[in-house]
């Protein structure tokens, strides 16, 4: 039996989003809008580079959670480059989302393979 080759094109769309500044209730709607657009365009994987996020509140967190939820529905995932600032990482630890979001290094933003 000859080898059957059934090749399908696997296109995984990864959105790499770098954020700088304060991600709070005021800025959250803009991020949500951006993410909504990616999801509508069949993006299922998201990398948020939070390195330079100065502060993160529950409204900002809610956007990340919302994106994670929808990504998972498409078998996708959300990964985070951990913020340098304690003011940004604090809420992730408090809410235990540090155990939910997979954290990666900044160098891993461009994936070497899945």
């Amino acid at each position: 039996m000859s080898l059957q080759i059934n090749a399908t094109e696997q296109i995984i769309k990864i959105a790499a989003i770098t954020l700088t500044g304060r991600l709070d209730a005021f800025e959250a709607p803009a991020l949500r809008k951006t993410c909504d657009a990616f999801i509508a365009n069949e993006f299922s994987h998201f990398v948020f580079d939070l390195t330079d996020v100065a502060m993160l509140d529950s409204a900002g967190l809610a956007v990340l959670v919302s994106v994670l939820k929808r990504a998972r529905l498409k078998n996708g995932d959300v990964r985070l480059v951990w913020p340098r600032e304690e003011a940004a990482s604090r809420i992730l630890k408090l809410t235990k989302f540090d155990q939910v979001f997979v954290s990666i290094e900044k160098s891993e933003i461009v994936p070497r393979g899945f």
């Binding site: 304060r22 709070d24 209730a25 005021f26 502060m55 509140d57 529950s58 409204a59 967190l61 809610a62 959670v65 919302s66 994670l68 939820k69 304690e86 003011a87 604090r90 809420i91 408090l94 809410t95 235990k96 989302f97 155990q99 939910v100």
Partner: protein, 639 residues
Amino acid sequence: MLPTITDKHRENFKSLSSGWMRVGATCVQLRRGGEVLVGCPDSKPGSEPSIAVTSLASGLSLHVFGIADARWVPTAESMLEIFGSLLSADADLENLTGALVETQDRLVALYELTQATRRTLDMPKLLDLLIQQSRHLMDVDGGFVVLKEKGRQTIIHQVSEKPLHPAHAEAAASLYLRDPNRHVFKDSETLPADLKNVMMVTLPVRDEISAAVGLFNKTGNFTTPDIKLAKAIAGHIGAQMENAMLHKEAVERARLETEMDIARQVQTAILPQSIPQVKGVDVFATSTPALEVGGDFFDVIDRSENTLVFALGDVTGKGMPAALLMSMTHTIIKSASRNMPFTQPHQVLNRLNHDMAADFANVGMFTTVMLGMIDCADCKLHFSNAGQSPIYHVPFNSEPMLLEAQDIPVGILDTVEYTTQSLNLSQGDLFIAASDGFPESRNPAGEMYGYERMRAILSSSRTLSAKQIAEVLLADVNAFCGAHPQDDDRTIVVLKFEKSTENRIMFNESLTVRANYEEIRQPCERLRLNLRQAGVSEEIAGQCELALQELLTNLVDHAYEGNPNGQVAVRMAGNRGQIFIQTEDTGAPANIKLEDVHMPAPEDLAEGGYGMAIIRSLMDDIRYETAQEKNVWTLVKNL
């Protein structure tokens, strides 16, 4: 001096003349110079007298007409002599009578003068009486009195229709004072032109005053009795003047004593009877007035639970004016400190200076004032010093420091702007405001107590209570002065800061923002900045900021439900022990049971409901109250 020829003289002359007629004379005349005093017969003959004899003694001559016989000359001489003697005797008699009458007049006048002067103690009136009586008795144009006292302006008092030039009166007095044995001056070479003659006598008042009475331009000339009379009058008036001076001095002394009494009462009345106590400050104040009241004042006012205002000042001058200004100054300070919306001492001094500058200028006085305000909440002392000295700050861990006054006293310049200085107080710090009565106290040797002795006492007694420190200082000054009487008021305010600096307020800020996501960032940033400046760790600062951010977001979302015009007032304060964050909004009341708030499980991927749970996990206490349609959230973080 010859009297006038009387009828009796004519008769005598007629009977003597009848003898001449019998021997053939046609006319006999008695002459003085060319004037016929009496003649017999009265008609004047046309021819020259045949016999004419003259008496050198009396200046009279006897002329006989119609007998040209030298044998009758001795007879004529005898008759002239007899008649001359008669006239002379009559003249003496007349003079004597006149003198008697005059003496009687003068005695009456002196008596009247005595009576009049007994009723008056008014100097100018006495001088008037002196001159008027002298004029009346001596027939002069006028009189003057010259009073010379060392170090004072010469006084010239005149009574005359045509007063002398004052310089002329003084010139006459100088002539006399140069030679007090000479009383009458009529030498036109030494006297000014308007003085024909002048008589000067001494007015015996007091040793330190040289006074002279001058009477001038008498018809005829001054006689020895005039001098005697003038001396008598002057002696009497002088004594009366001395009485008047003594009386005036007694009245003045009585007035001063009364005034000092009132001044002392005013001062005692305005000094506080009790010293208010504020938690965290040990305060003591006292004032020991000198016998002659100075213008010291002090006050200690509890402005609020945490704020103590104290004042210490010294009005220049003594007596009633100082007491009045002191009481006005004190009233303004008291009311401005307590009731006005002034938060800084220099504002009170500006107000005081503005209100009082004119009053002080009117009496040529001013006041030094030290006004301080201790804020126990933030452990700070704010003070403004308008010329008050000495002021000492004794930090708990170093030597006393003398703080120089930074501004000029109140009441000198109405345009001056006063300034406030601030000190951070630590537990055990001393602040002492005193009046110059302390360092300037003297001992019997004349030495001053001085700033160095005061500094040393404050240094050695620093661990005592405020009251004990004041007592030790007062005792030391008293011991130094010994028997030397107290020259000036001694007033002191001692403050000892006792509050633990644990409660020192590090920041206290309030701001109001509109309830939208953009504006609520402001209080969050302010909180972070305040905490950073206060030296709170980044960890705690971040926790507090996040808690406030979550609370405010909740208010935007739930209390105001997105209504962007809603307002939120945020107050943030922190001391060494705690951080307080409080919000006030007028939105919908929160329908939440804090104890039921739990963090959603992350695996549920909830997109909300974290805010209040985050706040709970970050803060040590959360309180929610509604009052007067306001919702008040209070977050507390223990440090």
